[in-house]
């Protein structure tokens, strides 16, 4: 190919330099995001791998086991290949601490990633973030729970620099008391990500974020297409073959996107450490987690360059540029109703799966079916978009009485594919946000603890006791309780009893000494020695006291210990610490909790724990989609500036022109967005019902959803308005020649 032809074709004018710059910048942004996304995926994998030891499990200690390898209170019975583990979730100032109590011989061959030796009774290893926390607050609020610090858990055993993890040494005797103790031979667990629900979320997220990135790249590589077609027509006129012209287009785009992609790699490398600071699922990332491997980078660069060059060449060939250029406008093929088929197919698949699950039919691989159905639905939405856009355009063109509406409507119906492309990113983002928000309504339901008169204070610690275990004294000695009551900030210690069997009306209710009940301040207590109260008081229901049939609590089973606090954080943490340092803790299933903690536990469903990630992904997707819309609008405006200036010449004012530009973006946006919101909730409902095999259904979305939706609409309008704001300059009559 003659290099001077290439020069003529590529470096035409300042406008074409702007175009090349736009493509480079767009590709750079796209590649940066794609790499960061890939990095995040890989980073989540890595952190999951490192923390998988935390889900290690083994057999429970069998009562009355008489085999030679039975685990007893004697440490030696563990041998060097086994340890006893009791796993609990502790809390401090609202943060969750993973606590691993381990009984192991000093000679044990069992290892935990991140620490060299297993701690002995009285010692503990903690993660750096936890060590900082312990140093920050008085020992009686946190440090005293664990013993003596003997070492730090290194990064190799931690998901995130923020992870709060502690491995506490114990004796076999201590742990045998615990109902949750397990015999563990190996600290390797199944990574969380193997979980198919997680995979569902990951795939959905990847589609949601990658799509707008690809769209952005596709839109910027099409920048200035009109001007370029003219230049190529000139080349054809002076004798270049269609092949030459296509090759020039491909070459030009390849070179530009190579530069863009390389800049993208550089930006991803620079931004990685910043992106690592975004907390996902309880913690920020180690910078290394997000680092892009050279192989990935090379792959992304190669794919970007090859794909954009191929599309550019193909577009030019398809445009069929003759020596006379584009005197006759190339007509888009009118989208047919057949475009609704994939959407209908995807929805049909989801509905069929859900109905089959509801009908109790044995459906194999429900998760996979749902992912496929969901993917087809999403793609279907994109395929159907142009058809729906066409319909919206037709209606507008027919119904509108204003010049702007007629012009915009006709433009839309003549170019539905291009019109829809510019808004498709936002449409997909809104669809995703709706599906997600719909699904999340289930997770969020009744998340906040109930507060009100008659409800147990959220500052009261609830320590469940283990009544079936024959500990010497599960409530602790009077001295123990006196010590708790004397802790500064603790306002009362109340034992709650239950009656396990019999046909007394007391069964199933909580029983307590009337005087103690009065101390809780939950309302009127009838005059009786022992009173009973509804058991859902622990989850926030208003208390209703009645006289109990039992008259002496000594005949009842102590089940719960309530520790009232003065409500200050320090008092609450001191109370937790005091409880854990006492013998009472060792007989419980888990450390004491408040009702706030319980609500927080309920929120730890998968959907909720990945909420940040999902909202982040959708936020990024919306931003890029908004950017794409702005670029597409500006570029369409520049391509049509002659036409728009002509309207000004005919006497249309700038406001009218602006209305055209806004209508051209708003009409398809609103039409297809309304559909994606409706579909989003329907799909969320189908996915939930299908996956959970239950009557769970979506509720009313929360403020975050409305916020996200408003944000995307505002962003879209801002993008279009920003573009429309440049109309005056771009349609300056003096700058355009009319001949």
């Amino acid at each position: 190919m003659n290099p001077s032809i290439v020069r003529l074709a590529v470096i035409g004018s300042r406008a074409s330099w702007g175009r090349l710059l736009g493509i480079t910048a767009g590709v750079a942004v796209g590649v940066t995001l794609a790499l960061l996304l890939g990095g995040a995926y890989q980073g989540l994998d890595a952190r999951d791998e490192r923390s998988s030891w935390m889900s290690a499990s083994g057999g429970y200690v069998a009562d009355g086991d008489t085999s030679p390898r039975a685990v007893t209170g004697d440490m030696a019975s563990l041998g060097t290949d086994r340890v006893l583990l009791a796993r609990t979730t502790d809390r401090h100032e609202g943060a969750r601490i993973g606590r691993f109590d381990v009984a192991a011989l000093t000679t044990s061959s069992v290892t935990i990633p991140g620490i060299t030796d297993l701690p002995q009774s009285g010692e503990y290893y903690a993660s750096p973030a936890l060590i900082d926390r312990i140093a920050r607050v008085p020992a009686d609020e946190l440090g005293d729970r664990f013993g003596t610090l003997t070492g730090t858990i290194s990064d190799a055993g931690l998901a995130s620099p923020d992870s709060l993890v502690v491995v506490v040494g114990a004796t076999a005797n201590d742990l045998l008391e615990r109902p949750t103790a397990q015999i563990v031979t190996d600290f390797t667990g199944l990574p969380y990500r193997a979980n198919s629900s997680y995979q569902t979320v990951a795939i959905v997220g990847a589609i949601a974020v990658l799509f707008p990135v690809l769209l952005l790249v596709s839109i910027v590589t099409g920048l200035g297409a009109a001007a370029r077609r003219e230049r190529f027509a000139t080349l054809r006129l002076i004798g270049a073959t269609p092949r030459t012209v296509a090759a020039i287009a491909a070459l030009e785009t390849a070179a530009t996107s190579l530069v863009g992609a390389l800049i993208g790699v550089l930006m991803a490398a620079l931004l990685g450490p910043v992106a690592a600071l975004v907390p996902v699922d309880d913690g920020v990332f180690f910078a290394a987690d997000l680092a892009v491997t050279p192989l990935t980078a090379a792959l992304v660069v190669a794919v970007t360059v090859a794909a954009s060059a191929a599309t550019a060449g193909w577009r030019i060939r398809r445009a069929g540029i003759g020596p006379l250029g584009q005197t006759k406008q190339r007509q888009e093929k009118t989208p047919s109703m057949l475009r609704l088929l994939p959407l209908a197919g995807g929805l049909g698949m989801l509905i069929a799966t859900t109905l089959a699950v509801l009908a109790g039919l044995p459906v194999p691989r429900v998760g996979t079916l749902i992912i496929i159905g969901f993917t087809i639905t999403t793609v279907g939405l994109l395929v159907a978009g142009p058809y729906l856009t066409l319909i919206a355009g037709r209606i507008m063109a027919r119904r509108s009485g204003k010049a702007a509406g007629i012009i915009a409507g006709n433009r839309i119906r003549r170019t539905p594919v291009a019109t829809f492309r510019s808004v498709s990113g936002l449409v997909v983002a809104v669809f995703m946000v709706s599906v997600f928000a719909g699904a999340a309504t289930t997770a969020d339901q009744s998340a906040a603890p109930i507060v009100g008169p008659g409800s147990l204070a959220v500052t009261t610690l609830i320590q469940y006791l283990e009544p079936t275990l024959d500990a010497a004294d599960p409530v602790g000695t009077d001295a123990e309780r006196a010590r708790l009551a004397a802790t500064p900030g603790i306002t009362g210690v109340v034992t709650v009893y239950t009656l396990d069997s019999g046909d007394s009306p007391d069964v199933g209710r909580l029983l307590l000494v009337a005087e103690a009940a009065n101390g809780l301040g939950l309302g009127a207590v009838p005059p009786a020695a022992v009173v009973s109260v509804n058991s859902d008081v622990m989850t926030g229901a208003p208390a209703v006291f009645t006289p109990a049939e039992a008259t002496d609590v000594a005949e009842l089973t102590p089940s719960i210990l309530l520790l009232g606090t003065d409500g200050s954080t320090a008092a609450l943490e001191r109370a937790r610490t005091a409880l854990q340092a006492s013998t009472i803790f060792t007989t419980g299933w888990r450390p004491a909790v408040t009702r706030t903690d319980l609500a927080d536990d309920r929120l730890q469903s998968m959907a909720a724990s990945y909420a940040t990630l999902a909202y982040l992904g959708i936020g990024v997707a919306t931003l890029i989609a908004g950017l794409s819309l702005a670029i597409a609008t500006v570029s369409a405006m520049i391509d049509r500036r002659r036409m728009l200036a002509l309207l000004r010449l005919l006497g249309m004012n700038l406001a009218g022109l602006r209305r055209i530009i806004i209508l051209e973006a708003a009409a398809p946006l609103l039409a297809v967005m309304a559909l994606s919101i409706g579909l989003g909730f329907l799909v969320a409902d189908l996915i939930l019902v299908g996956l959970t095999d239950s009557g769970r259904s979506v509720g009313w979305p929360d403020a975050r959803y409305l916020g996200a939706l408003t944000a995307s609409v505002v962003l879209a309008l801002a993008a279009v308005a920003a573009a429309a704001g440049r109309l005056g300059k771009n349609t300056d009559l003096a700058a355009i020649r009319y001949e």
Partner: protein, 227 residues
């Protein structure tokens, strides 16, 4: 006859090129004027200044007593909408709109109801023998048809002045003849002022008056007061 458009001392340069170098011109109501001159002499620039599309560097244009060059862009827009129509060589129809929709635009911009505007537009198509082309897109029209549609659009709102820049420049002689006669007939009927640039002396012969632009100035015979 009253002077409708008055140009005084019009100067306009583009960078180092002086397109107009002091033009004085009076145009009367209902007059048909042919503007001739070599390529690059400043004919189009003159037309654009008269129509308020270009703002002259110095000098002024007064239309019906209003100094156009003193108006802001919005007011000039309004003036164009109320008083002027334009026809160019080619490519002036909105490509996404059918012929009939294209014609309705000036009417709609003036606030006419769409139904009424469509009725008027069909009437114009009828008069120009284009009824069959009503539902066609500009890309589907022949060059002559497209020019006639453009003329219909320029005249549909009954402007006082029609500015035409080589309206038949892209047509063969037969089509040019057709378009030209149609345009002149309509203009004469309505008493519209026509300022038309042309290279063709035969076309110019239809005009009441010919003016010749050379190097951004009017040829001697065309100076104000002399004619």
């Amino acid at each position: 006859m009253t002077v409708f458009i008055q140009a005084r001392g019009l100067r306009k340069s583009f960078g180092t090129t002086d397109a107009l170098r002091g033009i004085d011109l009076d145009i009367h109501r209902g007059e048909v004027i042919a503007v001739m001159g070599p390529s690059g002499s400043g004919k189009s620039s003159l037309l654009h200044c008269l129509a308020g599309v270009l703002v002259p560097d110095s000098g002024k244009v007064i239309v019906d007593g209003v100094t156009v060059s003193a108006l802001n862009e919005a007011r000039r827009s309004a003036l164009r909408l109320a008083e002027f129509g334009f026809v160019f060589q080619f490519g002036q129809l909105l490509p996404d709109l059918t012929a009939v929709d294209n014609i309705t635009i000036p009417l709609l911009l003036r606030g006419m109801k769409r139904r009424q505007a469509l009725k008027e537009a069909h009437g114009w198509l009828d008069r120009l023998g284009l009824e069959a082309a009503a539902a066609k897109l500009p890309g589907e029209l022949s060059g002559g048809e497209a020019q006639r549609v453009a003329i219909a659009r320029a005249l549909v709102a009954h402007p006082s002045v029609l500015f035409a820049d080589e309206p038949t420049g892209s047509l063969d002689s037969l089509a040019a003849e057709n378009v030209l006669t149609a345009m002149l007939e309509l203009v004469r009927q309505a008493g519209t002022t026509l300022v038309m640039i042309t290279h063709d002396p035969r076309t110019a012969a239809y005009a009441d008056r010919e003016i010749i632009v050379r190097d951004g100035q009017l040829a001697a015979t065309d100076r104000v007061g002399i004619s």
